[in-house]
Each structure stands twice: as structure tokens, then as C-alpha cells.
Amino acid sequence: MVFSSNVFLLYFMPIFFLVYFILPKKVRNYFLLLASLVFYAWGAPEFIIHLIVSVIANFYLVRWMNKVEKPGMKKLLCGISIAISIGLLFYFKYGNFTMQNINAVRGWFGGQPLQWTKILLPIGISFFSFQSVTYTLDTYRKVNEPMDKLSDYMLYIVMFPQLIAGPIVRYCDIADQIRSRESLYTDRLQGFYRFVIGLCKKVLIADVIGFQVDKLLGPSNYDVLTSAQLADIANKIATIDSTSAWIAIFAFTFQIYFDFAGYSDMAIGLGRMMGFKFPENFDNPYVSTTISEFWRRWHQTFSVFIKNYLYFPLGGSRVKTEARKYFNLWFCFLVSGLWHGAAWNFVVYGALQGIFICADKLFLKKFNERLGRIPSVFFTFMIIVLTRCFFRIERIDLSWLFIKRLFAFDFAPFHFGDNPHLYVTMLVAAFFSFFTLSKFGLKVQEKVYFTDYNKRQHIVAFIVSILAFVFCLGALNASGFSPFIYFRF
């Protein structure tokens, strides 16, 4: 089930919260768990058993690990637990990719391709696998004690607001909240306002832009396309004029931000309505003055995960040589690129980000500082925009061809009247993306997102939220149904 669907907005959410708040606090977690399983099963019934079995197995494995005294045995059990989570992630997400590459290599040497049945990707696996890893490692590192109850652990993994696309909540950040939490009326109301803000970002901005990006660049997720459709995309990219190409890539840059940030807002809002305090996932990433800063602001919970569970174990910056330090950094981004999708374009995307991060440490940061704030924001934003080509166009040859079209200087005349809906939406997206460059913008953000409202503010926010909610429902049903981009990661 997705948040921006009728079944969620008009049925699941009202019924869930009505029952949830009526029930005594003691049983709310059980109900939340049940609702979360229903939520997942609605969209991916074939994977629910897999999810439950892997969660149960991990729960008992970690308990066992926590009880054993011998460090060797502890390490082994920790390894097995992580291997299960990462193994399943690898199998489902990278199985097809691996086989395709093995067959390609066999082909070069004249071998016959190996036969395999294409594996379907369970939605949200990248997110709940990571949560499962944080539980194992946080317990192993004695940051937290393991959960006493299987139901609590299962709830941590499958809780519906963040099950599908995060934020990736670390076990140590939420363990106490699962055991006990308070949901005040302020939280319920402001959680709802936050949810509506996310819904607006998704439906009124990301979907509108995404529809036009698909028209310009063809659909994404090339795995499911036929060769004829891929040929059509290749033709589109080969013949796109520079004006349309720049519009498309700027549009996509905004689309992906508002899509994902919108989802995160909805997840955080729903969590807050129940009394959870989920970590923030985005902090105005497009106002970053360097690429390093961008990655501190973009998909923050993922960056924290990579830092804590990959970068530090690799040695982080406390390594013997500078080269090793840069390799560690670059490698983390390479992995994070691959996490976004099992295709070579994502590998290139990650590698490029890693290169820019290293360049930041070496000279780019200093260069940006000399440029001044606004030019460096622009410069960083342009790097992000250009590297997004490898993210959106899932074939390296086509990404490269697209970049060539960007710089072919084959500009067609731009007419605002050709597509005013797209251009106005892009302007709105740009405004909100860069709003916090000003102190006023930061103040407004602080007020809207992070301050408890007074009575008058509540009344205004309530009215605006309800109207926006109704408007979004109209938009959703007038223009059709679209899944979130991040579901397949």
C-alpha cells in the first residue's frame, strides 16, 4: 500500500487511527503490528511470509548472540544474523544483476548463458534489511539490550510508516519509544499537518513534474521495459534538443527530492501522530555549498547508516594512509550508489559522488569557500544536477549520450506557454528548495516543522491541512495513480 492512494488515505488511515486511539495503551503496539502487516501484505502479499520468517529468525538469533559469553561465538552469530539480512537483500536485489553480468562475461568467452528465473524485488527490502542490521549491530556493540518481546522487535522492523521507504530508524534511537511513548494532541495534530505537507510535496509537485519528465525521457526502471520501448527511449534521448534536456534534468532533480522528502514527511508525520519521534531525513539538501554537505543533508538516515555501519568498520578516517582514507570514502559512496539500484548506471552515480567527496576534501571545498555562499550553492547544485543524469537514465551509454545532448548547444526556443503547469511547478519546487538560503526561510521552516503551535496557529494549520488534503485527493484521482520512486530501492 502506498500513502498517496485512496485506500490508504480514505480507509486505512482513518480506521487505523480511530481504533489505535480507542484501544488501551497496552495493546496499541499489537494493533500497530497487525496493521503494519496488513499494510505490507496489501502491496506485496507474496513476500509477507518471507518478511515474517526472516524477522523471527533474526530475533532469536540476536537473543542467542546476546546470551553467549564467548566472543568468537558472539561474532559468529552476529555474522550469521547480518548475513541473513544482507544475503536476502543481495539475493532479491542483486540476483538478476549478478546473473546478467555472469552471463555477459561467459558470453565474451563464448560460453552459453546460465538459465535462471527472474527474481522479483520485495518492496522496501533495502530499508527493512538495514534496520535489521542496525538491531543486530547495536545489540552486539552493547548500545542497547535486545527486545524482550518478539512482537516489539517485529514492530521495529515492520512499522508501517517507515517500512517501505524509511527513514531508516536505528534501533538505539527507537527502542525506548517502542516500549513506551506519549501521544499528545499537539503531536497528533502536528503529525497530521506534517503528513499533509508530505502529501502535497508528492502529489502536487513530484508527480506533476515526474509525469512530464517521463514524457521527455521515457519511463524509468528499464528492467521491466521491452526492447522496443528501450529503443524508443534511446531515440528520444538521441534526438532531444538541449533546452528540453536541461528542463528534463532540472525537473528530475526536483522530482526526486520532493518525491522522497514528501514520503519522509508523511512517515515522520504518521509516526508523530502515534507518539514516535522518527529522525529527520532531509535538511534542505539543495542549499549545500559542497557535495559533502549535500550528503549530510540528503537522505540523512541512510548517510548515518553508511557512516556507522560501513565507513567506521572500514576504518573511517583513522587509517594509516591518506589514500586508504579516500578509498574508504569513495567505496562507501560506490556501495551507496549500488544500493539505489542494481545496474551499472547506479554504480557510476555512486562512484562519481565518491570522487566529488574526495575532491571536496582535497580542494573543492576550499574552492567553494572562495567562491562565496551563493555561487558555491549554485556550483554544487549543478554537480548534483549533472550526476543525476546517471541516476535517471539507467543505461550508461544513454546517460552519456544525454549529457552530450545537454552540451550540444542545440537549443530550441523556450515558450513558457508550452507547458505552464510544469514550469510553474518547477518554480515552486525551486522556491522551496532554496527558501532556506535566507534567514527568513530558516525561521519559517523552524516555525512550521519544529515548533509547537499555539491555538491560532493550530486553527490556521488545521484549515490549510484539510483543504490541502482534499485538493491532493482531487489531484490524485484526476491525474491517476503513481507509486513512489524510492519504493524500488
Partner: protein
């Protein structure tokens, strides 16, 4: 105090979240239905299997999308926003195009004007011309058969909004099409009918002549069809033509005093598709009551009208019972209207019905002339025992596929489903229509419902290789029968030191390859691409 306010606001939020559910269940408020074709999806039955394969969830989503409470005002609100701010709507590209000065057009009408439309029906203009010629021949044959039985058949060509009101048309939206202007049935048919002698009345020409002098709107600003008032003039001309063709005297239509009023009925049917909250600004139109002159000596012939929706605007206004003994309307040669006994063409004995009529009128507007009269002539000839002989099994299958394509194109429900599939699986509409048609024909063959000279499926089924090979052979034939092209091939053969046959083959391969690349020749999907979708084709 503050907590009380929050409690109230939270309670209100909860109530408002439940409002849609309550509205759906108890219809607390009534709203005007949204306009447009909707295939209603009932709430699916819950079963373990449907839950497991996800079909229950998918159908429930569809059902809710069509029926959730307050759907109508919510969608109208959003559409109004799109219209007011951007002159845009979600249905724009599928069903409505915005012309200049607030005029609306059907996309097919605009494509007709820019002559980019044959691709939906045929691989190129030559194939289209062949199809139209064949249809004209069939009509002539049918006209002759009916003439012997005392029935007059004629084609009435209703005008297209594009040609009558081109000044408000939008720019060509199909910029992807860079080919030659496609063959236009409206011009081809007229020339062909005149050449071979098919009775026809070209109302498009009549309207073009009227355009500069008429003191009323021939086409409404936000409608698809001729204006209601113009339709009365068209009806009058139609009756004069029947009198001339049948040498009979019929009652005259008397058009009453004109009144100016807001758009009625079909005069704003395109606008209604936009589902806005409030009406678009547009002029008022003339309306009048039509009666007859009461001539007691006049004859009341029995007529059958076969055609598109242009007849509705006439039939709704003129006193049919006073003018005709009977006037059943075979809408797209499918459902029957203005007939108390029958509801569908499939229920009737077609030969009997045609024989017992005085006039058979095929009334198609410029936009629907591609549809080859919805197979009417073919079916009628078969009903009279005249059957077409296919040249070979491929020809037979291909003809059946073309016929199925025309049937699919004629069915709004099928097209809606095809459009949805095309969007879902990222196909072009044309590809989706072709794939569905091929799937249906293949299934008919496999199930033994379609046989050619008693042959089994294996021998007549069409695959992509055979299809391409056949197209190459056809192209070779076309080149060799065209003196100019033939000369060019001879020249190439000499230049490249090839035999004529080799050069001819190479040229044909090149032409077919180009057509495939440009998308003007749609090759049936191979097994690889013919995935689960195709197996849920229109039944």
C-alpha cells in the same frame, strides 16, 4: 483551553477523514456525476487466491478510485484549478485539445487536419488507400444488390470541426510524426465514390459553402459535433437528397423561431469532459423547434441509419415518426436505437432488415471515416451470401486482424482498457491496439474459432518473422509495379552490379526496416515482449 481547542480540532480531523467513507456509504450529499466513459469496477469478491495474487487489491483500488465519497467535487475542484491557472486538464491529451480563443477539439479531429492519423489504422498511405478502395468496392457491390431489392443505399459524409473551423485549431501536437501527410479518407472517399458510382452526399462541402454566410454557429466552441441548429439544416438537406435518390416526395422540415440560449446537450460535450466546477465562457447558441409541414401526400419511407454520434444531434431534434415509417439507428453498426424490437445488430437478420428498408444511410463524420463503416458492408455482403475470398492464409489472418483493430477502435470500452494498458506497460496506443487485436485473432485460431479453408492453427498463425517477410514481399510487389520505383531499382542494380531481383529485395528490406524504425509499421510482439499483458487482451 488550549487542550480543548486541540481536542476539538483533532476530533474534527477524525470526522473529516471519515467523511468520505460516510458519503460513499450513505450518500449524505448528491453531486452531478462526472462526465466521460467509465467502465465501472464493482467491489471484487474477497478470496485467498485473489488476495495472494494481488488482483483483489488492484480491483479494490480501481473500485475506490471510481466511487469514493465526494469524488465528484474533489476532482472538479482540481480540474478547475488546472484550467484557471494553466488552461490544462488531466484529460487534455487523451480526449480534448485546447485550440485558440478558448475553442476545444477532439485530438482525432486535430490529427485529421494535420493528416497524421492513418498510422492508427494502416502502416502507410498506400495500405490505407487499398483498404478504402476495397471498402468502396464493397459498398458499390452492396448498393447494387440493395438497388435490385428496391433499397437505396448512400453514404452521408458529415463534416469535421477541423475543416469547418480551422482558424481556432491548436498547432500540430504530434510533432513526433515527421512523415508525409497521410492519406485522408474524407478526400479519398469522395473521389473514389464519384469514380466508381457509390451514392454519396458530402455535407462537409455543404457546410464549407455555408460557412461564410450562415448567421449561426456551424460548430459550437466547446462541442464535438455540428451545432444543434446546424444539424437541423443538415437534416433538411439529407431529406432532400433522399427525395432525389428515391424519386419520392417527403414531408419538409419546418424550423421554428430561433432562440438564443446557453449550450444545450451536445453543444458543449467536449467541455463536459473537462469536468470543471463552473462553465467555460462561451457564446450563446441558436435553438429552434423542428416540425414538419404536414404534407398528407408525402411518403414516409423506412430508413436505417448506420453511423457515428452525429446522427444523435439530428434524431434528438426532428420528429422522426412524422418523417419516417421507421428509423432504426445502428450506432457504429453495433447497438440499435429507435427500435422497440431490437437492441443489437447481432440480434437481427441483417439481409431481411436491409431488404425491408427504403433507404440505408451510412452517416459518418470525417473523423470516423477511417473505420470502414465498422464492417457493415462486409457483414451485409456476407448476409446476402457474397463473401470475400482471401488470397492466402496470411492475407486471411491479416484481414481478420485489421477487422479486429477496427472493432477495437470502435469500442470506447475496449479503447479505454487498451489506453490504460498502453500507459501501464509503456506502449504506444497503436502498438497496444495491434497487440490486442493479434492476441484476439491468435486466440480465435488456437481455439478453432477461426479457420481458413479448414486449416488448423499451426498453418495460419502469424509470427513476427512471417509478418516482416510478408511485408517485404508486398513492398517488392509495390516497387515492381510502380514504373518510377522500378526504374530506380534497375538503376541501382546496374550501379552496384547486382541482379534486378537482388536490388529489388534490398530496396524492399530497406523500406520495411525504415518503416519499423519510424514506427509506421508495427510488427507483432515476439514471444519475449508478448508478456502477461497481452494475454489479458480484450475478449
Amino acid at each position: 483551553m488550549r487542550t480543548t481547542t486541540k481536542t476539538i480540532l483533532f476530533a474534527l480531523t477524525a470526522v473529516l477523514l471519515f467523511a468520505s467513507m460516510l458519503q460513499k456509504q450513505f450518500t449524505l450529499f448528491s453531486f452531478e456525476d462526472l462526465k466521460g466513459v467509465v467502465v465501472e469496477q464493482p467491489m471484487p469478491e474477497l478470496s485467498f487466491k485473489s488476495l495472494q495474487d494481488g488482483s483483489y487489491q488492484q480491483l479494490t483500488e480501481q473500485h475506490l478510485k471510481q466511487s469514493f465519497g465526494f469524488r465528484q467535487p474533489m476532482i472538479r475542484l482540481y480540474n478547475q484549478y488546472l484550467w484557471d491557472f494553466y488552461k490544462d486538464t488531466p484529460v487534455a491529451e487523451e480526449q480534448v485539445l485546447f485550440g485558440k480563443d478558448g475553442w476545444l477539439y477532439q485530438p482525432s479531429t486535430v490529427a485529421d487536419y494535420y493528416q497524421t492519423r492513418f498510422r492508427y489504422y494502416a502502416s502507410d498511405s498506400a495500405q490505407m488507400a487499398t483498404m478504402l478502395s476495397e471498402e468502396a468496392q464493397r459498398l458499390l457491390r452492396l448498393q447494387q444488390i440493395l438497388e435490385e431489392q428496391g433499397t437505396h443505399l448512400f453514404v452521408c459524409m458529415a463534416p469535421g470541426k477541423d475543416l469547418i473551423c480551422p482558424e481556432h485549431l491548436p498547432d500540430n501536437p504530434d510533432t513526433s510524426y515527421r512523415g508525409e501527410p497521410a492519406l485522408s479518407p474524407r478526400f479519398f472517399n469522395e473521389a473514389e465514390f464519384t469514380k466508381i458510382g457509390v451514392n454519396h452526399l458530402n455535407l462537409e462541402r455543404f457546410f464549407l459553402q455555408m460557412k461564410d454566410t450562415a448567421d449561426f454557429a456551424l460548430f459550437p466552441q466547446t462541442g464535438i459535433h455540428w451545432s444543434k441548429y446546424a444539424a437541423l439544416h443538415a437534416a433538411d438537406t439529407l431529406i432532400r437528397y433522399m427525395e432525389h435518390l428515391g424519386h419520392i416526395n417527403m414531408k419538409n422540415i419546418v424550423i421554428g423561431p430561433r432562440v438564443l440560449d446557453n449550450a444545450r446537450g451536445s453543444d458543449d460535450d467536449l467541455e463536459q469532459l473537462l469536468n470543471l466546477l463552473r462553465p467555460m465562457p462561451k457564446p450563446k447558441y441558436h435553438y429552434a423547434k423542428a416540425t414538419t409541414d404536414g404534407d398528407t401526400t408525402a411518403e414516409k419511407p423506412k430508413i436505417i441509419i448506420i453511423g457515428d454520434s452525429f446522427w444523435w444531434t439530428i434524431a434528438d431534434q426532428i420528429p422522426l415518426d412524422e418523417l419516417f415509417a421507421q428509423s432504426p439507428y445502428w450506432y457504429y453498426n453495433n447497438t440499435i436505437h429507435y427500435d422497440k424490437l431490437h437492441h443489437s445488430v447481432s440480434e437481427i437478420d441483417m439481409a431481411d432488415e436491409l431488404r425491408s428498408s427504403d433507404f440505408v444511410v451510412l452517416l459518418y463524420s470525417a473523423t470516423t471515416q477511417y473505420r470502414m463503416n465498422d464492417n457493415f458492408s462486409q457483414q451485409a455482403l456476407e448476409a446476402f451470401g457474397v463473401e470475400e475470398v482471401a488470397l492466402d492464409s496470411m492475407d486471411f489472418v491479416e484481414r481478420e486482424i485489421q477487422r479486429t483493430i477496427r472493432n477495437l477502435l470502435a469500442s470506447p470500452n475496449s479503447m479505454k482498457s487498451i489506453r490504460e494498458k498502453a500507459i501501464k506497460y509503456n506502449k504506444t496506443i497503436e502498438q497496444a491496439v495491434h497487440d490486442d487485436a493479434r492476441w484476439i485473432v491468435n486466440n480465435k485460431i488456437k481455439n478453432g474459432k477461426l479457420k481458413w479453408e479448414g486449416k488448423t492453427a499451426d498453418t495460419i498463425i502469424l509470427d513476427s518473422t512471417a509478418f516482416v517477410e510478408r511485408e517485404i514481399q508486398r513492398t517488392m510487389k509495390r516497387i515492381s509495379t510502380d514504373p518510377k520505383l522500378r526504374a530506380s531499382v534497375v538503376e541501382k542494380a546496374e550501379k552496384h552490379n547486382k541482379t534486378y531481383e537482388q536490388a529489388l529485395h534490398d530496396d524492399a528490406v530497406w523500406v520495411v526496416k525504415r518503416k519499423i524504425e519510424k514506427g509506421t509499421l508495427i510488427v507483432p510482439s515476439t514471444k519475449d515482449t508478448n508478456t502477461k499483458t497481452e494475454h489479458h487482451g480484450i475478449q
